[in-house]
């Protein structure tokens, strides 16, 4: 009996391997977990149309997605990668080296990163400088010398803030949200200190380390990748703050509210207009060489860039996407449909 089983298993494996050589009929998408909710929504609607199979969307993170995407051309490699930042020059080069030439870059909109608190919370208003001073690993003292962050309460950070312990729940370093948060909020805040700002000219590496170092003494709590968990913890602890993507604030608006940063509340309009300081652009990249080989790529791009999807009233807006301004959206849609290859990024 064992022999039959073994033979069956081997036949199965052999059959599978030979089947794999055949063409793939569904689009494969990889990349950022931030873009994942939007990409999957489009994929589902696209599949519902019935003409093509529903694309497979993998959540690999932006960097992991780029690596897979740039691995080469052919059915083994993904057709589209999502990114919560623009493609880097080094990634573009590795793509070219592996024969992936002709990549269409499509900017899909903005994603705001919110600092939120419970509805019964402290009702705070922060500046980027406050955020940096509260969460950095090292902060400059009165003389400008860097010392380990001594601040225990928000009042220590800024006398106008409430006298409550600093407790911020945020994503771990593996997360794209964390990258964006340290880049936009922390770095923005640390440049408010002239002594650190000057450092950038003399020692860029040190500047980056100081600005992007998050304290590890318990005031900043890494809460894992699960943003729903952070929301629950905020409700349980009204004195704590949490950091996550805008869509979680929108979905849980009955339990939590966004903290104003620099006087601007995280709302759809303020993120779209760029007034809210902690927001980033999100993208997807199409491998032009696969268009025509894998069925439906062009139609998928058309679906994604149609106003019923990514417009301000589209179904992606319901999922928390902040749409591009009208003119920019139109231009992006046009270049996406024409599959205009991108230039090499500057950095």
């Amino acid at each position: 009996m064992n022999k039959t089983l073994l033979v069956t298993a081997m036949t199965l494996a052999a059959a599978a391997l030979s089947a794999q050589a055949a063409a793939r009929d569904a689009i494969t998408i990889v990349g950022s977990s931030t873009v994942f909710p939007f990409s999957t929504a489009v994929a589902e609607n696209f599949g519902r149309g019935g003409k093509f199979k529903t694309p497979k969307v993998e959540s690999t993170g932006t960097g992991g997605g780029m690596k897979l995407f740039c691995g080469g051309t052919g059915v083994d490699h993904p057709d589209i990668t999502n990114a919560s930042r623009a493609m880097k020059a080094s990634e573009f080069e590795s793509c070219e080296k592996n024969g992936v030439k002709g990549i269409t870059e499509v900017k899909i909109g903005y994603d705001g990163i919110v600092i939120a608190e419970s509805k019964s919370g402290l009702d705070m208003t922060l500046t980027l400088k406050d955020i940096f001073t509260a969460l950095a690993k090292d902060v400059p003292d009165a003389s400008g010398k860097l010392i380990p962050n001594p601040n225990k309460t928000w009042k220590d950070v800024n006398p106008s803030l409430p006298d409550a312990k600093i407790e911020v729940l945020g994503p771990p370093p593996t997360s794209g949200t964390r990258d964006a948060f340290v880049e936009l909020a922390m770095e923005g805040g640390c440049n408010a200190y002239p002594s650190i700002k000057d450092l950038k000219k003399t020692d860029e590496k040190k500047h980056k380390a100081v600005c992007q170092g998050v304290r590890e003494d318990g005031a900043f709590i890494e809460a894992g990748e699960n943003d729903n968990l952070i929301v629950q913890k905020l409700v349980a602890n009204p004195k704590a703050l949490g950091i996550f993507g805008y869509s979680f604030l929108e979905q849980n608006a009955d339990k939590i509210r966004g903290v104003k940063v620099g006087g601007v509340a995280p709302e759809y309009d303020s993120i779209a207009s760029g007034d809210y300081p902690i927001s980033r652009s999100i993208y997807f990249y199409v491998k032009n060489a696969h268009v025509g080989t894998i069925p439906g790529i062009k139609e998928f791009v058309t679906e994604f860039t149609s106003d019923k999807a990514w417009g301000p009233d589209g179904y992606l807006a319901d999922k928390g996407l902040i749409a591009l301004p009208d003119a920019e959206r139109k231009a992006e849609a046009q270049s996406a449909k024409a599959l205009t290859p991108m230039e090499k990024p500057a950095k």
Binding site: L5, Q20, E44, K53, K56, T60, Q251
Partner: protein, 440 residues
């Protein structure tokens, strides 16, 4: 009583403490020690049970609502002019007709007083994005509905579903909830007309996943789990039992087999993610096995369960008494016949128990599958081992990470289903052992 003679014959004034006195003096303390130990043991068990109860209570209380789904009854006029303009019931035309428009028109007829674009958008949001599909299926199955008006129970949108299930607090100020006052009025009106109903959520078991919580189901993940586990068993069981049989019964006992044995025991303790990395490096990158498929998942999980099966099988083989082997050999069976005809059947219950426990572990595994691309959004239900698929634990992980409120209950419900399977598998292991195990 055993030893009274010397003690009794000893001179009475002897002040030396007798053994019994020593025993008596420490007796109380020793009883107390035992009582303390018993108490600690009992409280540890109680604490453990309490945590399990809290965990289960939390999951069940969050998840049970997902087994019901809100439906809204809408009178739909199956307008032949829009659905089948040529009048020849061509399936192609019927498949591509504008069902979304039909649903919207039906809602407008139901609420003629709702006018203006924003208000109408709210009205359309009452019904799920899956409703057009529902109507399409209906028309395809019963083309005779064309030209008639029927009351159809359509799937409600996720927000309405949450409201009806009481998971959105309607006492909060309007700005704080996802459902606006105007929608509340619409829902209340539907309720008084008896047009809202909760039914058993069959879609949860028959649909693939979706971005819309009300349409999301676990069928895709279940099918993926089935293919993955079936193939895992097919690969790991024969190899594992064969390896155990060889190592236990045929292999010479020397330094090499000792080394192999130590290695197998160590492999059983290796974190599962390491097997995922191995799978990525070897199966995908070297052998080119397609990513995200049950095939590669099963290969990785088979590697992971092999040590468990080998160890359990060896223990089971070892417990078969040598007299069986000697008797078989004595009546002229070859060593191979001895093993396959006599030893293996007697060891099988133990082997099965080990295999089932190994499979139960594989069922709950998600970490190694993350490395090989099974953490993916896959709507279509996989039809074979080379289709892209995901498995139940990964589906739970993906849902737990979704912002939509409706996924909270679905996550817990999926956990319940997974736990159900776990319990069934472990129960099967226990029953097999009880039923077939022979004591010697």
């Amino acid at each position: 009583m055993n030893n009274p003679a010397p003690a009794a014959s000893a001179p009475p004034p002897a002040p030396a403490r007798r053994t019994i006195d020593i025993v008596n003096a420490s007796l109380k303390r020793r009883y107390a020690r035992e009582a303390r130990f018993r108490f600690m043991g009992a409280s540890a068990v109680f604490l453990g049970l309490l945590f399990v109860a809290v965990l289960f209570g939390d999951i069940v209380s969050k998840g049970y609502t997902a087994f019901a789904q809100t439906y809204i009854q809408v009178p739909v006029y199956f307008d032949p002019a829009t659905l089948d303009p040529d009048g020849n019931r061509d399936p192609q035309t019927l498949a591509n007709a504008d069902y979304l428009g039909l649903v919207k028109a039906s809602l407008r007829t139901l609420f003629p007083r709702v006018t203006g674009r924003p208000q109408q958008r709210e009205l359309y949001a009452l019904i799920s994005a899956g409703a057009p599909q529902q109507i399409q299926t209906m028309v395809r199955q019963y083309p005779s509905v064309l030209g008639t008006t029927r009351d159809v129970w359509l799937i409600a949108g996720a927000d309405v579903d949450m409201l009806v299930k009481g998971q959105i607090d309607r006492e909060l100020p309007e700005a704080d909830r996802r459902i606006k006052d105007s929608t509340l009025t619409l829902v209340d009106q539907l309720k008084t007309e008896g047009r809202i109903e909760q039914r058993f959520n069959t879609g949860f078991f028959t649909n693939g996943t979706s971005r819309e919580p009300e349409l999301a189901g676990i069928a895709g993940a279940l099918a993926g789990t089935f293919y993955t586990l079936a193939l895992t068993l097919l690969l790991s069981f024969p190899i594992g039992v064969g390896a155990a049989l060889y190592l236990q019964e045929f292999a010479p006992k020397n330094r090499w087999t000792d080394l192999i044995e130590v290695n197998i025991n160590n492999l059983a303790a290796v974190p599962s993610i390491v097997f995922g990395l191995l799978g990525l490096a070897v199966f995908i990158n070297v052998f080119g096995v397609p990513r995200s498929t049950p095939l590669v998942g099963a290969l990785v999980l088979a590697l992971m369960t092999l040590p468990t099966i080998i160890i359990a099988s060896r223990a089971a083989l070892q417990s078969v008494p040598p007299s069986i082997r000697e008797a078989a050999l004595g009546v002229g069976a070859s060593p191979l016949q001895t093993q396959f005809h006599h030893v293996l059947p007697l060891a099988l219950p133990g082997i099965m128990t080990g295999a089932i426990i190994g499979m139960a572990r594989a069922l709950g595994e998600s970490a190694p599958l993350l490395m090989i691309g099974m953490i993916a959004f896959i709507v279509d239900i996989p039809q074979g081992v080379t289709d892209s698929a995901t498995v139940l634990p990964v589906q739970i992980y993906l849902w737990a990470d979704s912002p939509e409120r409706g996924f909270v209950e679905r996550t817990s419900a999926a956990i319940l289903v997974l736990l159900g399977f776990m319990v069934v598998m472990n129960l099967a292991a226990v029953l097999l052992r009880r039923r077939f195990e022979r004591r010697w």
